[in-house]
C-alpha cells in the first residue's frame, strides 16, 4: 500500500513534465519541396505523410518526432515531370517508396522556436538533419511549421547526368506545416 501511494505520488509529481502525444491532422497539414529548374522554382508536394510528436513545449527534452513520408505521393504539377521523378535516377518509387525522419533530440532555440535533430532516411541514404520548427498552440490543438534546405545529392536524387546542378539545382527547400491534435 505504502509503495503504491509512493508510486502515485511519484506519478503526480512527474505528470506536469510528461510530454503529450500529438497526432497529425492531415486536413490542415502540408509538406512541400521546392527544387529549382533552369533557375526557376519548381515546387512539389508529398500528398501523403504522417507525423507523430511527443512534445512538451516547456520541456522539449525527452520528446520525439517521427515522420513517415509516402514518397510515391509526390506531385510536381507537371504530368511529364511526375512521370519522370518515379524513375531510378530520381525518387525510385519501386525501390524506396517511403522516407522517414526520426528525432529524439528536441531542443528549444528561443521563444516558440525549436529544433529537432534526427536522421532522415530517403532513397536508402541516412543523413543527420536538423529540422527547425515553430510551435503554435491553437485551441486545444497545435501547429508546427518550418523549413529547411537539403542537398539532393546527399540522397542520390538525380543520378547520372542529372548529378550536374546547373539545370536542376543542388538545393531543395522543404517546407512543412503540420496541424496537431492530442492523441
Amino acid at each position: 500500500m505504502k509503495q503504491i501511494l509512493f508510486l502515485l505520488a511519484l506519478c503526480a509529481l512527474a505528470l506536469p513534465a510528461l510530454a503529450a502525444d500529438w497526432k497529425m491532422d492531415p486536413g490542415g497539414s502540408k509538406l512541400e519541396f521546392i527544387a529549382t529548374f533552369e533557375k526557376n522554382p519548381a515546387p512539389g508536394v508529398f500528398k501523403e505523410f504522417d507525423a507523430r510528436l511527443r512534445f512538451d513545449p516547456d520541456k522539449p527534452a525527452g520528446g520525439s518526432l517521427d515522420v513517415t513520408i509516402k514518397v510515391t505521393s509526390a506531385d510536381m504539377n507537371i504530368p511529364d515531370v511526375n512521370k519522370e521523378i518515379r524513375n531510378k535516377d530520381w525518387f525510385d518509387y519501386a525501390g524506396f517508396p517511403q522516407a522517414e525522419f526520426h528525432s529524439t533530440d528536441l531542443r528549444r532555440v528561443e521563444g516558440n522556436r525549436y529544433v529537432a535533430r534526427g536522421t532522415l532516411s530517403l532513397k536508402g541514404a541516412k543523413r543527420p538533419v536538423e529540422v527547425p520548427f515553430t510551435w503554435t498552440a491553437v485551441g486545444d490543438g497545435a501547429a508546427i511549421e518550418g523549413e529547411l534546405t537539403l542537398k539532393r545529392g546527399d540522397f542520390g536524387i538525380g543520378l547520372g547526368e542529372w548529378k550536374a546542378t546547373d539545370t536542376i539545382g543542388a538545393d531543395v527547400k522543404v517546407k512543412f506545416r503540420v496541424k496537431l491534435k492530442k492523441g
Partner: protein, 182 residues
C-alpha cells in the same frame, strides 16, 4: 542610308531582315533538335535556348513592324505580273503572321505545360494560359503545322528572290543585300 526609299531598303530594314533570317533558321534547327533529343539536362537547356530565341524574335519583330510602318516600302518592279505581285504580298504577309503565330503558340505550350521559364535564364516569362495538358498538346500540334507552313513559305520566299536575281535579273534581291548601298 537609314530610311527606305522607293528603290531600296535602308540599313535598319536590311539589318532586321538578315539578323531575323539567321535567328529563324537557327530557331527551326533548335526546335527540331530539342524535340527529338532524349530527356536529359541538354534537352532542357535546348528548350530554354529555343524559347528564349522565340521571345527574342517576337521582340525584334515588334520593332521591325514599327520601323516598316513608319517607312515607305520599296516598289516592286513595274514589269511584274499581277499574280507575281499577289504572291509577293501574300508570302510577305504570311511570313509576318508566322513570326507572330509561332512564338505566340510556343508561349501557350510553355504556359499550358506549367513549365516555369526565364528568358535566357534571366527574365521570367509569365504564363498566358492556365496549366492544361490538353491545351499544351493541341498547341504543340498547331505549332508543328505552323512551322511546316513556315518552311514552305520560306522556300517560296528564297526561291522567288533567286528567280528575281538570276532569271528576271531585276534588283529585288540585290537591294536587300547588306553590302549594296544603291
Amino acid at each position: 542610308m537609314l530610311r527606305n526609299n522607293s528603290d531600296s531598303w535602308g540599313t535598319p530594314a536590311k539589318l532586321f531582315h538578315w539578323v531575323m533570317a539567321l535567328l529563324i533558321f537557327a530557331q527551326i534547327a533548335l526546335g527540331l533538335v530539342a524535340v527529338s533529343w532524349r530527356l536529359s539536362p541538354t534537352k532542357l537547356d535546348l528548350y530554354v535556348w529555343h524559347k528564349s530565341t522565340g521571345m527574342l524574335i517576337l521582340t525584334l519583330l515588334a520593332l521591325r513592324l514599327l520601323w516598316r510602318l513608319s517607312n515607305r516600302v520599296p516598289q516592286l518592279p513595274p514589269e511584274m505580273a499581277a499574280w507575281e505581285r499577289l504572291g509577293a504580298h501574300l508570302s510577305h504577309f504570311l511570313l509576318y503572321a508566322l513570326m507572330i503565330a509561332l512564338p505566340a503558340t510556343g508561349w501557350v505550350i510553355s504556359s499550358a505545360s506549367n513549365v516555369p521559364f526565364k528568358i535566357f535564364w534571366t527574365i521570367p516569362l509569365p504564363p498566358i494560359t492556365p496549366p492544361d495538358k490538353a491545351v499544351a498538346d493541341l498547341f504543340a500540334t498547331i505549332h508543328g503545322w505552323l512551322v511546316t507552313l513556315l518552311a514552305l513559305v520560306l522556300a517560296a520566299h528564297v526561291g522567288a528572290a533567286l528567280r528575281h536575281h538570276y532569271v528576271k535579273r531585276d534588283a529585288v534581291l540585290s537591294r536587300m543585300l547588306p553590302w549594296r548601298t544603291s
